[in-house]
Amino acid sequence: MHIPDLTLPTTLANILGKLPSTPPCWALVTTLNQLKKREILQVDMSLLSGHSFEVHILDADMRLHFVADDDHFSVGNNTTVPDLHLAANLADFARMMLREEDPDTLFFNRKLVIEGDTELGLIVKNLLDSVDWSATPLQRFMAV
């Protein structure tokens, strides 16, 4: 599977940007908690606990806020400055998740913005890298 290099058209982005970000954010934290529960995401929560995260999908102008505690992820509020802020276009986030592209490569190419606690960013990156999708039904979607 190859993700074409596109940015969301402005009209679509405008609509997406105006939608409340709670449903997608809820979907995100639910997925994270599920993956964690099924031990696909082998996460040491003590490394993430107490931290807040923001995923900013630039071309959709959508900001997803979530927080971690000792045992799960939950929807966060977008009023505080997150400890870790990640920003990229939707296609680049998809490439990272599908392992078509290495986050360092996107960062070197200035397509991924990382702000805040750099070490936390590294923990999150390494966590996602360590997921063995071949052990899940999602395998057929993944590049490796």
Binding site: D44, L47, M96, R99, E100, E101, D102, P103, D104, T105, F107, F108, N109, R110, V113, I114, E115, T118, E119, G121, L122, I123, V124, K125, N126, L127, D129, S130, V131, D132, W133, S134, A143, V144
Partner: protein, 338 residues
């Protein structure tokens, strides 16, 4: 020189189980990895292998007929060196094909305890001449030495011609320009260095500042570099920072480049290099897959017909995208020094 040399082993990095599988699936002969602690020089939060993932990874590689090396390539620190001893014990128990060591004290420990365990001398040992390598062979029976990225191809040949220890060289990845193992820059800025803490420019000291115009990289408060809009960024290591020297601000030590020896593969095979190493245990499975696939293709092509070997534009393209700073160099290999 024999007419046909065996192809050098392609040695690829793995910071996680998926990366290990990516290396194996894309044609690595050998994979190297580290444990989750400061006994290896990529001691990054969340990276590396615990007992279970190491077991799974080694099983996967062996099932596919590939080898696994365990890097224990930092220097045992101060009062408590038990962690390093335990790492060696663990490697032996896991059944890795060899252990990569830098510290001679650890070489002795491994040799005494596990006479059958194959030992490789790490690049961090900083052995740049055959006498050092032959001495390590005499004393600890090391079977392979990884050369620092500071030698020219002629110098590598010199070493190979005077030792029967296998020689491994770096083929692709970010450059560490100092005679590795002897660099103090990271310690100077942060108090932690690859040899002592297993990491150069630890992430906890790094801050990225997104200004209006430029992206600033700070290491423990020290501004190392600023990247303008659209300018490729690099790792925030001191050696690749821009410094003001006599009124000029430039990359005074090294540009943020990546090493790529693809165009030299025929010579590398000719002089009898035993293995080519890819840097990057800190990188993702996507990087490992792309680099391994590309170098596998290139190595096989060079092996089939050295005379007519030419680097394919597609290979260069695939690798340059992944490179730090998006520039590639032959490093010291093609310098005219003798």
């Amino acid at each position: 020189m024999p007419a046909t040399r065996p192809l050098p082993e392609l040695v690829c990095p793995a910071g996680s189980l998926p990366a290990l599988k990516a290396a194996v699936d894309n044609g690595a002969d050998t994979v190297y990895l580290g444990l989750k602690n400061d006994t290896n020089a990529r001691n990054f939060a969340g990276l590396n292998f615990d007992d279970r993932t190491a077991r799974d990874g080694i099983h996967y590689a062996h099932q596919h007929g590939r080898k696994v090396l365990l890097a224990i390539n930092t220097y045992a620190q101060g009062g408590d060196i038990s962690r390093w001893h335990r790492a060696i014990d663990e490697g032996a128990a896991l059944g890795v094909d060899a252990i990569i060591l830098a510290d001679i004290g650890l070489m002795k420990y491994a040799r005494d305890r596990y006479p059958d365990l194959r030992l490789h001398m790490s690049v961090q040992s900083s052995a740049t001449n055959y006498e050092a390598i032959n001495l390590a062979q005499d004393m600890f029976d090391i079977r392979r030495a990884v050369l620092p990225r500071v030698l020219t191809l002629d110098q590598v040949k010199q070493v190979i011609d005077h030792t029967n220890v296998e020689i491994e060289v770096f083929g692709f990845g970010s450059l560490c320009v100092m005679v590795e193992g002897r660099c103090l820059l990271s310690s100077y800025a942060t108090g932690e260095s690859p040899n002592s803490h297993g990491v150069c420019s630890p992430a906890k000291f790094v801050r990225w500042e997104h200004g209006q115009q430029a992206l600033g990289a700070r290491l423990n408060g020290i501004l190392i570099d600023e990247y303008q809009q659209g300018e490729a960024a690099g790792y925030p290591t001191l050696c690749k920072g821009r410094f003001e020297v006599e009124g000029d601000t430039y990359y005074a030590l090294e540009e943020p480049t990546s090493l790529n020896v693809m165009s030299m593969l025929p010579q590398i095979i000719d002089i009898g290099v035993a293995a080519i190493k890819v840097e990057g245990r800190q990188r993702s499975p996507a990087y490992v897959a792309q680099v391994t696939r590309t170098l596998r293709e290139a190595l096989d092509a060079a092996g089939r017909d050295k005379q007519r070997f030419a680097v394919k534009p597609a290979w260069t393209q695939a690798l340059s995208k992944l490179a730090e700073g998006q520039q590639q160099t032959l490093g010291a290999y093609n310098r005219p020094w003798k």
